[in-house]
């Protein structure tokens, strides 16, 4: 846990440096997003660090796993985006159906 806290502290410093260098406009957003990503990975990072220290995986494999988690978060974000659209479409279909039914009943008196 101590190592993880050090990691988060160091990460924040590095993100601030990165922001100061090339992304000054997005400084606070960059630190916030980067830290949030690392916090989501806390459990995995602790596990993978342990496995790496026991020589159970290489540095490249360790790096790949962290990056793969970022891809997974992107996939999940895309899924949420599309499901929200689908729900909206279902709602719209129901609205169209209600308009149709009401119009037939009230205006056509059927």
């Amino acid at each position: 846990m101590g190592d993880y806290n050090n990691f988060i502290g160091e990460l924040k410093k590095n993100l601030q440096k990165l922001a100061a260098g090339s992304f000054s406009k997005y400084s606070s957003q960059l630190v916030q997003d980067g830290t949030a990503f690392a916090q989501k990975l806390e459990e995995d990072l602790n596990k993978w660090t342990g496995e790496y220290s026991l020589f159970e995986m290489t540095k490249e494999e360790f790096e790949n796993l962290i990056k793969s988690k970022k891809e997974l978060l992107e996939m999940e974000a895309l899924k949420r985006q599309d499901l929200a659209k689908t729900d909206l479409n279902k709602l719209r279909n129901s609205i169209v159906e209600t308009v149709t039914e009401t119009a037939v009943k009230v205006l056509l008196k059927i």
């Binding site: 995986m57 985006q81 169209v96 119009a103 205006l107």
Partner: protein, 168 residues
């Protein structure tokens, strides 16, 4: 004189008998309906083929990953075959209307420069043998990534749901 504000139409309507007026209103109300309904279908419909394809590819991918602790060369033909199937799934997704998001997901999944199955196969090819612990961890991530595609496809509007809605 030009009827810019629909004034003459309004005056005509005032003189119409109630029944005729109702019919008139129905036409005015329903005329834009097909365009509205068309705009509702922006996320596309559920495809049984795409769903089955994703499930089968998930199983095949995880099975092949089990072999990544063995030498790449003894499985290169299987890798090539899987890559072809994954590319086919991507192209199939790309060809479906209103399917941009799933297409983007397949792109992330198979791109060798990214870090899901495309990246995994690249590392296997470069390193020749991968550590069993890494393979196991990567399988978990890639399995979850497949689930986002499968979940998204199964969450799409099914033709039967449209019929159900229309039947009340």
């Amino acid at each position: 004189m030009q009827d810019t504000f629909g004034l003459s139409t309004y005056l005509k309507m005032r003189k119409m008998p109630a029944k005729k007026l109702n019919r008139y209103c129905v036409i005015v109300l329903f005329l834009p309906l097909p365009f509205f309904i068309q705009s509702c279908a922006s996320t596309g419909e559920f495809s049984e083929i795409a769903y089955r394809q994703s499930v089968i590819l998930k199983v095949e991918t995880l099975e092949l990953m089990n072999k990544a602790s063995e030498s790449y060369s003894s499985h290169s033909a299987e890798v090539d075959s899987l890559v072809r199937k994954l590319k086919f799934a991507y192209e199939y997704a790309k060809g479906r209307p209103n399917n941009e998001i799933i297409t983007k997901q397949w792109e992330i999944m198979i791109n060798p420069d990214r870090n899901l199955i495309g990246g995994f196969l690249r590392i296997w090819k470069e390193d020749l043998i991968l550590s069993p612990v890494f393979v196991n961890e990567a399988q978990e991530v890639i399995s979850n990534a497949f689930d986002t595609i499968i979940g998204l496809e199964s969450g799409k509007i099914k033709p039967s749901e449209i019929n159900e809605d229309n039947n009340g």
